[in-house]
Amino acid sequence: MLRCENLSQSYRSGTGTLTVLQDISFAVDAGAFVAIIGPSGSGKTTLLGLLAGLDRPASGEVWLDGIALSALDEDRRAALRGAKVGFVFQAYQLIPTLTALENVQVPLELRGESDPARARALLERVGLGDRTGHYPAQLSGGEQQRVALARAFSTRPKILFADEPTGNLDQRTGAGIIDLMTDLNREAGTTLVLVTHDPDLAGRARRILRLADGHLESDTTT
């Protein structure tokens, strides 16, 4: 489902180049639940960005559902994301000017489709059936993240990337979000890639990739 080979990333910074990721290779099967963990600055988010085609690597290659990302330009990568990838972010990243229902529909609308019934059903599924017309500002943090989850699943993605999805939430609400996410993952058979520095959260994954200083330090399957 997802494979990367010899992935490296570096940034020019003032005097020299700063290497963030070095020579990362691994593969993730369809339907798997993988956690990428590591301390701050270990390159987790950069890796996630490269896997999802949000940025180009300095070297190496990523295959998403068998498609080599380096062969695609920015718009094609965006289209690929729209078709196959779902995202959940730490800061929810809802569009403040749209209602919950409209937020859930954004990925579909970008593809020129519209399916309010499905969006409504997804909001029901995450327990917000009665809040469809609310704006993000009118929702609590946990509710906003549930809207974000519904949005992530609106396009029936093959793979879901989650970046510290509980980072801004209290423990109980966070746990609820993770439960919901894993449930949805199971129901839809989605591949789940989770980035976190929370060992408890990572413990729920079947496979843990540990990053340190831009290297893949360990790859453990439970």
Binding site: L54, R81, G82, A83, F89, I95, V106, P107, L110, R151
Partner: protein, 853 residues
Amino acid sequence: MTLRALLRLAWREGRASRRRLLLLVAAIATGTAALVAINTFTANLRTAVNAEARGLLGADLALASRSAPTESLDALADSLACGGPAPCDDRATVTTFGAMGYVPSRTGVRLVRVTAVDGRWPFFGAITTTPAGAWPRLQGDRVALVDPAFLTALGASIGDTLALGTLRLPIAGTVDHVPGDVGIATAFGPRVFIPGALVAETGLLGFGARAEYDIYLQLPAGADVQAIADTLKPRLRPDRVRVRTVQDEQRNLGNALERLGRYLGLVALVALLLGGLGVGSAVHVLIRQKMDTIAVLRCLGGSSRQVFALFLVQAAGIGLLGSTMGAAIGLAVQQALPRVLGEFLPVAVTPALSWPALATGLGLGLWTAVAFALIPLLGIRKISPLATLRRPYEAEARPSRDRWTIVAIAVLMASVVLMAMVQAGDPLRGAAFAAGIGVALAGLWLSAFALVRGLRRSFPHRLAYVWRQGLANLYRPANQTVSVVLSLGFGTFLLATLLLVQHNLLRSLRVDGSSRRPNLILFDIQPDQAAGVDSLLRARGLDPTPAVPIVPMRIQSINGKAVQDYSRDTTEVEGRPAGWALRREYRSTYRDSVVGSERVVLGSWWGPGTDSAGGPVSISVEVGLAEELGVSMGDEITWDVQGVPIPSRVTSLREVDWARFETNFFVVFRPGALEAAPQTLVTLVRVDSAAERGLVQRAVVERFANISALDLSTVQRALDDILGKVGAAIRFMAFFTLAAGLVVLLGSLATSRAQRLRETVLLKTLGASRSQVTRVAVSEYLALGTLAALAGLVLALGSGWALAHWLFETKFAVPAAPMLLLAAGVVALTVGVGLWSSVDIFRRTPLDALRNE
């Protein structure tokens, strides 16, 4: 905290948002620049007028009258200038009259203003000619000098022969500049200068011809000109001789120019106020975004007063920097103003520094920034240190409605009114202007608010997604939609109002090609020439209107009270006839029917026939004149028709549409009383092609030298020209307000930059292509620009209608194409500026969405 520490902290704190603060600086700078430019220019203009004052009149004293100087006036002039009865060269006589001038070897003919100079006028100031030094030739040589425009109009050149009535003179050169002359004055008729001794040879100053006679005097050195003038004025008034002095001229001109300068200054003030509005709105948003900083500062032990002072210092810094930059730009811009306004200026203006103008600009700029920032800044005091720990989601740093806010609002409003009063130079006009701005801003705010509210309430859900997203962005949190619409809308409003006024003023004179309305008027026709003119025109296949008689007359008495008795009343009280209306010469007519351009509003029109012999003749008076004379139905006016008293009684009042190109009259007599009076006739005719119009005029003038012709298209062109130039001056200033609006837009874009970046990158992450995010942005700016343009246009339609209806009293029409063009321009500018400021946002990779959390 010491002031030094405060300044240091304010600087450090502002560093991070320097780009945004710079835009606020620019917003203040734009208005200050406009203000400094126009005020410096006005000051320089005043200096120039004072410096050239003597040249404006060309003499110490001028005695002007509408009839040839009487012997006693001549003797008076001689004794004043020469100290005795013997003529000397310290007096000159200039006779000015309208006539048809042409060059026999060329085809055209032009109505010109003939200036016949007798004596070595001007005594002060120099007239420049081409070739140089040709002016003195008018004293002795048989030559003429002409305006360059005359040569251009006829395709003639120096050396050709000029024909004026029966006089033929070689054109010895052109007159390029006469001191005190306004360039635009020649628009209606170029001037022709001839030696005064040759006036009689033209044969043009016969009965019915209008001429002005000016006697110019150079008084002996040391004479108290003003004292002499003051004693002369009441003495000469009954003889209808006007006394003018350099001081009078200077005062009149100074006042007129001062008014022009002040008016343009008020437009500049609007630009500054819009900048202030932008600052206020941006500060409001900045404070919201800085809530964390503020809360942290409070946590670290800063008192709310210190924190408030910190941001107030920043606002003052913005004001100081903005007004300084603006002043520098303004000084540069004012170099261009003499070129924009040159056609209206009788003096050459040298750009120079004016300290008062500079100080006013700096002061107003600084104050505007602080006054507008004050209200949102007051909200700072309400931010508690607790916000570092618990920040209410999307907290509103709403300006609280406490005592201080009310005081701040009052101070702001009072200072706006005060600024307007200072700039207008007259408290009442300033207050009225401030009220006007208030109404305009309130109107714009209302329409912007209604449009945004309406959009939100009935959101177009059927639109494509990118459009909906763009529209939704207009009410994103911390949006500045209303302030941007307000500032851009105001610029649009000013420009659109200008367009409307210009259009409506010109439209009333415009005769379209298909219309059969007359476009050529022939006047000063002597009764014995009428048949000849008619047959000449008919021979050319034209269909002239029946000739209308014109009888010159003056008022002798009203209800038995002689005009001279009114003259002693120096004050003009309401209900008492104004001096001008009493003393002017009336050119009246007599006829038995009402014409199309007039309407009887009081009393009734007379039937066929005449009044009973011996009684007063019935007259119909124009409403406005009746008001000025203080007469109404049944009042008796006795007219002096070439020395013969003719009593009359007002039997009806008429409303007259003066804008129509027809023969209209203040006073119409019932037939029967004036037929025998000395009179001239006027006839109108429609001539389709311009070339044929020229030929017709030429044919008439060659046969009847005393007849003058006025071509409507020439009048139109002249008006077009004048209004265009007045418009250019106002547009020049209006563009400053539009520029201020654009700066406010840029400022608001910079303020919402982080938010827009986050949204754009998020959409990309969710699968949006670059073209999709671009279209979202385009639709947002398109909507914003349309809102602003629409709000401005709506308001301009209102004010344009009001101006047309009440001030110009014409029917109101909307020039659709230019208005739409203006609106499209504003929209295009908004979209262009918006996209330009977003280019780098579109370029960012989506990974930023994950990083910038």
